[in-house]
Amino acid sequence: MEPVVELNNVSKSFKGFTLKDFSLTVRKGFVHGFIGGNGVGKSTTIKLIMNLLEPDRGEVSVFGLSYKDHEKEIKQRIGFVYDEFVFYEHLSLAEMKDIVKRAYKTWDDDLFYEYVNTFQLPLKKPMKTFSKGMMMKASLTIALSHHAELIIMDEPTSGLDPIFRRELLEVLRSLMEDGGKTIFFSTHITTDLDSIADYITFIHNGEHIFTKDLFEMNEDYALVKGELELLDEETEQEFIGIQRNSFGFVALTDHKERVEDVFGDTVLIEEPSLEDIMFYTKKGAADYVQLNS
């Protein structure tokens, strides 16, 4: 499978934050979700992919090309949506379109108006009067109107109402039906990904925790519930993260079959949500740090 985005051992340091030896591959034709809490490096990674930041070390390539020699060529093929307001506040959507369209060789006015109609966006109102949801729709309309091969979105669903979140996912799904397109988007609302993502990358404190396909995750991961007596030094090794309370324990494992063999009927095994996976992985990492420091 052809990689569209490749980050190889990329490091980037800021005051109080470091992205460490981060590697990531986004494959062509798939929806790739990028999850992690607030301030763990999701936006930094997206900015590195967009060449808004240069890595201190490591390589970034998009469509197999490097930004150093092919910056314009790469950006012609990307559609982007940011969490922040990046447009001229006093301009209307129609005026903003006139500025952006000239930058792209493949801009399609018909497609633009199609999205404007779908999202019922006002063309003449200054964009500063747009609500968060309208702003996101406008960003998406601009991002999708030049037949981009790669759509990169930073937290597109944050702060949106559930109805629009569904609408957005629907648009993304229909976009993928045409084939050949790739979507990479970050979110901390993991339920968005359950229905649409093919691959998931989890980042925590600037470190790549895992990249897995969603099917594989459902096969491997399990949420295990049982009594505290079942836990000892040996059995605890089976889990990524454990939460104890007076009733028993809840833990996450990434080798479901083995846990089924070890514990048999003594525990309750459930399918974890992405949120569970994030929570216990984070908890496991924190406990590990506590134990070893």
């Binding site: 900015k47 967009m50 060449n51 808004l52 930041l53 910056e71 314009k72 060529e73 950006k75 012609q76 990307i78 982007f80 940011y82 922040e84 307001f85 990046v86 447009f87 001229y88 506040e89 301009l91 006139d98 500025i99 952006v100 000239r102 930058a103 792209y104």
Partner: protein, 202 residues
């Protein structure tokens, strides 16, 4: 890059119309052309710059298929175009209001002063933000006053005298020299701004 230049001009449409009106008023009142031209050109250049600083527009521009070099260069070209436009407006305005042909020397001095100012304003704005220009100009004014009050008490007279010499001289080589010198300064500033902008984090 043409699109970036076009964008800056189109976005200043309304400001241009208001400034054109104000320019007429100043000319009708008989304020010095050099002074009016200098102020108007600098206002237009800094206004173009501050529009891009609002609400993360630099993130947008850098995500579109433009290089950082193009984004900076477009501003330097736009600054030249705006200054030429102001010079043209002054020429036409003086002709209409006073029925006189503006001396080319006056227009040239005005443009030279604008380019000297822009050579400092643009890299400063790329390094910091144009909103700090006001603070910087107050500091610069303070430094100038300190200089006048302590080291060179007759600095104002000296400048006035030099400007008078430049305006009355008939040696073309002096003008050519000034144009080349200011051209070099502007070019150097252009390169410095590109360097600053290429290292910028968004």
């Amino acid at each position: 890059m043409f699109n970036l230049i076009r964008k800056d001009i189109v976005m200043q449409k309304k400001t241009l119309a208001i400034l054109a009106l104000a320019l007429c008023v100043y000319l009708a009142l008989g304020v010095s052309s050099i002074w009016v031209g200098l102020i108007f050109s600098i206002v237009m250049i800094t206004n173009t710059f501050s529009l891009d600083e609002k609400s993360n527009v630099h993130m947008l521009l850098n995500s579109l298929p433009y290089t950082r070099k193009q984004i900076v260069s477009s501003k330097y070209v736009v600054a030249v175009l705006f200054t030429l436009l102001v010079a043209l407006a002054l020429f036409v305005g003086n002709l209409v209001f006073h029925g006189e042909i503006t001396l080319w020397k006056h227009l040239l001095i005005m443009m030279i002063l604008v380019f000297i100012a822009a050579s400092f304003i643009l890299p400063f704005s790329y390094q910091y933000k144009s909103q700090y220009l006001f603070v910087a100009s107050i500091v610069a004014f303070g430094a100038y006053m300190l200089l006048v009050n302590t080291l060179i008490p007759n600095l104002n007279d000296l400048i006035r005298e030099k400007v008078y010499i430049i305006l009355t001289t008939t040696t073309p080589s002096l003008y050519v020299g000034m144009v080349v010198l200011v051209g070099c300064l502007y070019g150097f500033s252009w390169i410095v701004s590109i360097r600053i902008y290429e290292k910028k984090v968004f």
